[in-house]
Amino acid sequence: MLSRVAERVYWLARYLERVENTARLINVHTGLLMDLPRDVEIDWFTLVTIFDAEMFYHANFEQINENNVMQFLLAEPNNPISLLNSLSAVRENARTSLDILPEETWEQVNELYLLVKNEMAAISNRRRRQQLLLTIMERCQTVWGILVNHMSRNHAYHFMQTAKHLERADMTSRILEMTSLLMAENRSESMRAAEGILWTHLLRALSAQQMYTQTYSSSVNADGVLTFLIRDEAFPRSLFFSLKAIGRYLWPLPQSATTLEHHQKIMSEMFNENLKELPAEMIYTRMDELQAKLAELSSQISQKWFHPDRSVA
């Protein structure tokens, strides 16, 4: 497999996962804000902070309001992680990998891109926007369905799965950062009153509510949610599951030993301590660290397989 092709399918998968996660997060967050009293510490801008994109936001918008935040996260050309930019990256990578992906992949991706691009004019309309986000999630799942059901388990597949789980772990850790708001000692009375809704929200943002309820036939609470989203071994969007999957898909790649060691180190650092007992602000720090480690792992993958120093035969 060509290094350049490996790089393209890797980023295709990362962006595809990012598009779906972004759509879900915004969709769920919109639902949450409809339920919350106005004086809670969570608002539209919380979304921007989840993506660590405050700087980009202020460079493009003065006021903070629903319209601007949505414009920024979904359509803004100057926001490198806006959903439309991510989707466009999926499209460009699919277009240049036509020869190794099942042929419906490109058709689906192209169709989705054209659809989203057309609908972007209507995102200030909350109903149309929510509808569009649902469509995006469905279509992303269609693409994954094609890949999982039509693609040989070759290296292209391994790179795509590695990328998907890496992106997913990154997103889960970002959503878990919100727990520092939810668990802060000095949180407002309204926040305390809305606790149940908020923890449920966290689950829903990772489409984890149903599986959580099945696993713990108890009410939603901080302990349960943290344990489930961080350590659950069976739920495919928990941190543990995603990180473990990264190792599983890295393993068959050529000369993967050093990268696997690095991965193992991240795993043990992450799961050897009991995060539940950490104070809220420490969870935030841990998640921040994890994101940095994942970024480092990604650049190691890039150096090893996409841009190695080569000696000529």
């Binding site: 350049r4 460009e92 490109w106 035969a313």
Partner: protein, 489 residues
């Protein structure tokens, strides 16, 4: 409203019509198609057009137009009314195409080796040397099976009495075959009923023939050669085709930067496993750019040293470097002579009558009749830099007169053919539009000709320019078995 009414107004006029015998009567092989189309309601027909446009947009079938305003990705222009050629006629055309490419390959091999045809006085040496595609670096090469032009896209046109002529032989990096495949897929999706009525020769096995042909070129008798398609990249106008062919023929799609020549002289690609040897390269970049050590130094698309690998037989390249020598409008005039010389056969497909301006008598004839002729530079493609006498102003004609006098060797002239037309949907009516046909011929160990090919159509009324870069469209082309139809033609 039924479509019957629109067809009632259809009139091909003085031109040969691919589907109609005259204004009202379809040809014997197009009755069923026409019956079907006429029976549709107008709204239903228009819906099929919308479906086909959507299909093309969503499948991302595009080509790139270079312009001052930047490069634009345009949706592939497609007319849903197919063009039909009866199988009986096509079988003869196919034989003619194979005969022609055999002679062309023998010619290329000859001029880079023994030069018999020059020595025997059939073609002057300076005609060969003036061809922009001539590459002295290829002298003495003997590619596998003696084949240089592995993939050829010939342009065929029909005149007003229905004779099919070869207009040119595209031997360098002919494009269009993926669009032929896409046109058939689109027709199958939007007009599936028609495939019940007629037996239409399938075209979708082209990629497997391409792959088998390329495999037959592999050096050292390798049984599972590594085969790649070398593209200039995503900004090339035919990138869609490169990607589609690579996908369908199982070739690895790559760019020059993905390849390197090792110290052992073999060609390698850069993979996640390290370097892997490449045996066959289907290149979609021009000779000029393929190796900066041998041709253009400023090329960033090519692979330094690859010509040496090829010369040493360590890698096969299709089409072979230097094969463009025969893709020249002056050389074209000699193809019938080549067929007689190398094969000792009479040409089955005629050339368009051609005056060579390098001959003073012929030049005089051309200068005297400029307003009626088409004048073409020897080495341009895509319809650029030519004069179409009857469609040109006095000033344009005079400008060309000067060009011809200054540099006669670089020009040929041909009569303005009354190109055939085919019914085409044009907004709210059906109108005759001029068409040509580009079949694709593969030559390796064996020959293969696509049944039909890519029909290009000039969408502008009266226009003869079918090139997609200049507003041309395309049609699905059907080779239909007419042996049991009988009746009039």
């Amino acid at each position: 409203m039924s479509m019957m009414q629109l067809w009632r107004d259809y009139d091909p006029g003085e031109f040969y019509d691919e589907l109609m015998h005259d204004q009202h009567q379809p040809r014997h092989f197009s009755y069923k198609l026409l019956d079907y189309l006429k029976s549709m309601r107008k709204e239903a027909f228009e819906q099929r057009i919308v479906d086909s446009e959507l299909e093309i947009l969503e499948r991302g079938i595009t080509f790139t137009v270079y312009s001052d305003a930047g490069n634009i990705d345009r949706a592939w222009p497609f007319d849903i009314i197919p063009r039909i050629i009866p199988k009986g006629e096509w079988d003869c055309t196919e034989k003619g195409l194979v005969q022609r490419i055999r002679a062309l390959n023998m010619f290329i091999n000859d001029i880079y080796n023994d030069g018999n045809i020059i020595r025997d006085g059939l073609i002057p040496e300076e005609v060969v040397l003036q061809s922009k595609g001539y590459r002295p670096q290829c002298k003495g090469m003997q590619p596998a099976h003696g084949i240089w032009a592995h993939i050829c896209g010939s342009d065929l046109v029909r005149d007003d009495n229905g004779t099919m002529y070869v207009l040119e032989d595209n031997l360098r990096v002919p494009s269009g075959v993926a669009y032929m495949l896409e046109n058939r897929k689109t027709t199958k999706r939007v007009l599936p009923e028609l495939f019940k009525l007629l037996h239409i020769s399938p075209v979708n096995d082209y990629p497997s023939h391409l792959s088998a042909m390329l495999a037959s070129l592999a050096p050292d008798d390798i049984t599972h050669p590594k085969m790649v398609l070398l593209t200039p990249g995503i900004y090339n106008s035919a990138y869609f085709e490169h990607a589609a062919l690579a996908q369908q023929a199982g070739l690895i799609l790559l760019e020059g930067a993905d390849l390197t020549v090792g110290n052992d002289g073999y060609v390698y690609m850069k993979t996640i496993h390290g370097l892997e040897r490449v045996d066959v390269i289907y290149r979609r970049i021009d000779d000029d750019f393929i190796d900066p050590l041998v041709f253009r130094e400023d090329s960033t698309l090519g692979i330094p040293g690859i010509m040496q690998s090829w010369r040493e037989g360590k890698v096969a390249i299709a089409n072979a470097p230097g094969c463009g020598v025969a893709d020249d409008k002056v050389i074209y005039a000699y193809v019938p002579a080549m067929i007689r010389y190398y094969l000792n056969e009479e040409p089955l497909l005629p050339n368009v009558p051609t005056w060579m301006c390098r001959d003073p008598h012929q030049l005089q004839h051309v200068l005297d009749n400029l307003a009626d002729l088409v004048v073409k530079p020897a080495n341009e493609s895509g319809g650029y830099g030519m004069l179409v006498g009857p469609h040109s102003s006095e000033e344009q004609i005079e400008a060309f007169r000067q060009l011809l006098i200054d540099d006669p060797n670089n020009y040929i002239a041909q009569p303005t053919l009354k190109l055939s037309v085919s019914p085409t949907s044009c907004g709210d009516h059906i109108a005759p539009r001029h068409v040509d046909l580009r079949p694709f011929i593969l030559s390796g160990k064996n020959n293969y000709v696509t049944p039909g090919g890519l029909t290009r159509v000039a969408l502008v009324k009266g226009s003869l320019v079918v090139n997609s870069s200049q507003g041309g469209g395309s049609k699905d082309t059907w080779i239909v078995d007419d042996s049991h139809f009988g009746g009039l033609n």
